[in-house]
Amino acid sequence: MKHLWIITLLLALAVPVMAQDGVVTDDDVNEIASKMYCPVCENIPLDSCGTVACNDWRYEIELMLTDGLTEQEIIDDFVFRFGDRVVGVPQNQGLRILSLWVPRLVIVLSLLAVLWFALRNSGAGGHVLDQVAENIPTMDDWRAQIERDVRGTS
């Protein structure tokens, strides 16, 4: 009985502390909402969507935060309910890899194609030409143009 009083006292002290720490601000909500898109609108981030439905979803985020859910858990819940269209990059592992790595792969392949093209069209090796270039007093077009400008001839 004595212990029960102590526990009750501790709980009474602890609850307000939790409430204070657990205050969810609009900024907390928006930080998560900004990582998601309105599930029914046209590519509008959830934090800046002005519809009544979006207000409700933001309120849901607030409630979830109050209940102690983490950011990832909230995002997962929205993805579970509305699909991967609510996030900027899919949560589904396969779709995520497809989304992020296909363009990188294509870009790397393009780079290889450019290198192949450049080597094929280089004639003599670039390194040799670099050495030759050291000794050639080249005057490229723009420098020649400046010289002409200075001399006042066209």
Binding site: E42, P45, S99, V102, P103, S110, A118, S122, D130, I146
Partner: protein, 696 residues
């Protein structure tokens, strides 16, 4: 009557464009000049007829002819005159007609200007440009006709261009009462200029495309087509850049999310041709100077136009969901088919000519550090950006839907992971490439040229650091962006200094003379400087943006950074001249106990808007070069007058607009014809001579 005039004018333009294609091709095949001449005249006629059609629709909007379905859908008796005019491109049917009008005008001017010098290319230029025009006019006539009228047929209201049998016109007063009004998002000054600029940019690329195709078809694969289209490409690029900038500004002012670029698919659709067009503008110099990359340039110019058509298709077909896109309509499939056929024909023509050896380069690559090699890397960067943005906007979402039967959105998260390294590489190249030489160049020579700009960049980074910036990423980003700017300034400075030394001219005079002698080069440097300033603005407003949301009662304040925002008063339920209901919050921005500005963020409600968006949040902003203090009214309670505000501090955001203006100025300078400058120089000289003789 207005509907009939417009409809007939559009039909005549359509017929004339088809005739122009047939006559010019026949003339080219049979080598009979009169056919080509006739085709040219038909092309001119399309411009005249489409001017009539556009003017007719404009008059219908101004005189409030609600019997025309288009007028009814984009205006109502409360619409101000200004927005009646902009309503011409406010919806699908009108904007398609306006697009065709611009295309016909561009084509007519290009044909007239190049008629004498490019006689061999002309028949094909006419054929290709008019074929594209005919397609768009076909859409206007058969799918999205802006001249359709309302008719009552058997108790039902139907829309038709020609009066159906046994029908009668509905009561005008009832039509006026129920008229829709312009989409609220379009009731902004930026909307008066943004779409026409984008359309001018889009249709402007028809000209280089038509010339490239003409070169491929005629076999004249010399640099003629490039000389004829260089300025047109720049003009199209100028308008596209202007359209993108204005679009960003419009989003910043109207869309109410504190930013200017949301990686929205439709924004991206306009950015894609810009990227390929920019690659082409650089790459074409290699062909002019060194006779290289002939096939690649063909691919780029055709790719640019193909991106324009694809973007148009994506925006107008409902393919992607976007705040910008037009409603779903029947033009999707024809546009996709047109895009596909156009691209297929173009690529086939290139491959055919290439297989004949007609697109063989005159030179090989000299060295890794030559200007042409660096320009190729530059092209790679732009194409890589194109791939990344295309994939994020269209590729992945479409593939996910088709293959995995699921909808996905690739948003800011995706774009901020994939594109920054490419943009960084772009800025690095902007800093290095202008210093390298054509043909052969070495890293030592290049390194020597870079010494001073790099030193200036390091000083800049140090200043940023001393100013309180500690993030390595931010300092690196500012470093590479500054390098590009310093190189542009340093190159101009060297030329000016050389002239000042030898001619003893003042700095301003020397700058003016140097610029006038080579506007293309110095216009280019100015563009680089503009892009540098945009970069500084983008980095500042992206990496250092601050935001908070606060709910305040009247008289309460909120703090953010070293600013204080005080909520002074609420003016609710005000009715504007066009029927909007405005709820306005009056706020004071305070810093160091001094009121810097009063802001009036507001919510506009459109009670007559039956469907779609019926409210908008218009920001209040206090703008300085340092930052924008930007406030949105999120919600409020009329009873308690308690209001919620979203407050942003967007550092350096105004540099985006200033940089944009510099970019535009640089492009105009680069476009400015050297011949005109030469003429003015001759005039100056002759005036000088006559003045001298008068003095004598």
């Amino acid at each position: 009557m207005l509907a009939e005039i417009g409809f007939v004018a559009t039909i005549l333009a359509f017929a004339a464009s088809l005739y122009a294609v047939a006559a010019s091709l026949l003339g080219a095949r049979s080598r009979r000049t009169q056919f080509v001449l006739s085709g040219r005249n038909a092309a001119y006629l399309t411009a005249v007829m489409l001017t009539v059609a556009c003017l007719t629709l404009l008059v219908a909007l101004i005189v409030e002819d609600y019997t025309i379905a288009y007028v009814w859908s984009v205006s109502n008796p409360n619409t101000q005159l200004f927005y009646r005019v902009t309503a011409l491109w406010g919806s699908q049917a009108g904007s398609l007609l306006f697009w065709s009008f611009l295309m016909s005008a561009f084509s007519a001017i290009a044909i007239a200007l190049n008629w004498r010098e490019q006689r061999r290319l002309m028949p094909y230029v006419i054929a290709y440009s008019m074929a594209v025009l005919a397609f768009f006019l076909g859409l206007s006539l058969f799918i999205e006709n802006p001249f359709e009228r309302f008719w009552v047929l058997g108790g039902e209201v139907v829309e038709a261009a020609l009066q159906p049998a046994a029908s009668f016109a509905p009561d005008y007063a009832r039509l006026a009462d129920s008229a829709q009004g312009l989409n609220p998002l379009l009731r902004h000054f930026g909307m008066a200029i943004h779409p026409p600029m984008l359309y001018l940019g889009f249709v402007g690329f028809v000209i280089p495309f038509a010339f490239a195709m003409a070169a491929l078809a005629s076999g004249d694969l010399s640099n003629n087509w490039i000389k004829a289209t260089r300025r047109w490409t720049l003009v199209a690029w100028l308008f596209l850049s202007l359209g993108l900038l204005l679009g960003g500004r419009w989003a910043y002012d109207v869309l109410g999310w504190g930013g200017y670029w949301g990686w929205d698919p439709v924004e991206n659709a306009a950015f894609l041709p810009w990227l390929i067009g920019t690659a082409f503008l650089h790459s074409v110099m290699i062909q002019e100077k060194r006779g290289m990359l002939k096939a690649w340039n063909m691919f780029l110019v055709i790719g640019t136009f193909s991106a324009v058509i694809f973007g148009t298709f994506a925006t107008r077909s409902g393919l992607v969901e976007s705040v910008h896109s037009f409603a779903r309509s029947g033009i999707g499939f024809p546009m996709f088919l047109f895009w596909f056929i156009l691209t297929l024909i173009s690529v086939s023509l290139i491959l055919w000519r290439r297989s004949q050896g007609a697109l063989r380069d005159d030179h090989g690559f000299g060295s890794v550090f030559s200007r042409e090699s660096l320009f190729v890397v530059n092209n790679f960067v732009f194409v890589a950006l194109f791939i990344a943005i295309f994939w994020g906007s269209f590729g992945a979402p479409i593939l996910a839907e088709l293959v995995f039967d699921t909808n996905i959105t690739l948003g800011v998260d995706y774009f901020m992971r994939v594109t920054p390294p490419l943009f960084a590489l772009m800025y690095i190249l902007m800093g290095i490439a202008p210093l390298s030489a054509w043909g052969v160049s070495s890293y030592r020579r290049l390194g020597k040229s870079l010494l001073i700009p790099v030193a200036l960049t390091l000083v800049t980074v140090l200043l940023f650091h001393l100013g309180g910036m500690t993030g390595v990423l931010a300092l690196f980003a500012y470093g590479i962006v500054s390098l590009a700017g310093w190189v542009a300034i340093y190159e101009a400075y060297r030329a000016v200094r050389a002239r000042m030394k030898t001619r003893r001219e003042s700095p301003l005079l020397a700058l003016s003379k140097v610029t006038r002698r080579n506007p293309r080069r110095y216009g280019g440097y100015l563009i680089h400087l503009g892009v540098t300033i945009i970069g500084i603005g983008v980095i500042g407003s992206t990496l250092f943006q601050m935001e908070t949301q606060r709910t305040l009662a009247v008289g309460e304040s909120a703090s953010i950074a070293n600013y204080e925002l005080r909520y002074d008063r609420f003016d609710g339920g005000q009715v504007s001249a066009d029927g909007r209901i405005l709820d306005i919050a009056n706020l004071s921005v305070i810093r160091d106990e001094r009121v810097l500005a009063t802001l009036r963020p507001r919510r506009d409600f459109f009670p007559q808007q039956a469907e779609g968006l019926n409210s908008m949040s218009i920001a209040g902003a206090h703008s300085t070069l340092e930052n924008d203090f930007y406030v949105l009214l999120v919600e409020f309670s009329p009873q308690t007058q308690v209001a919620t505000f979203k407050i942003y501090i967007n550092p350096l955001v105004n540099l985006v607009w200033w940089g944009g203006l510099i970019l535009i100025a640089g492009t105009i300078l680069a476009i400015y014809p050297v011949e005109l400058l030469a003429t003015s120089r001759v005039r100056e000289l002759s005036f000088g001579n006559s003045a001298a003789s008068a003095t004598a």
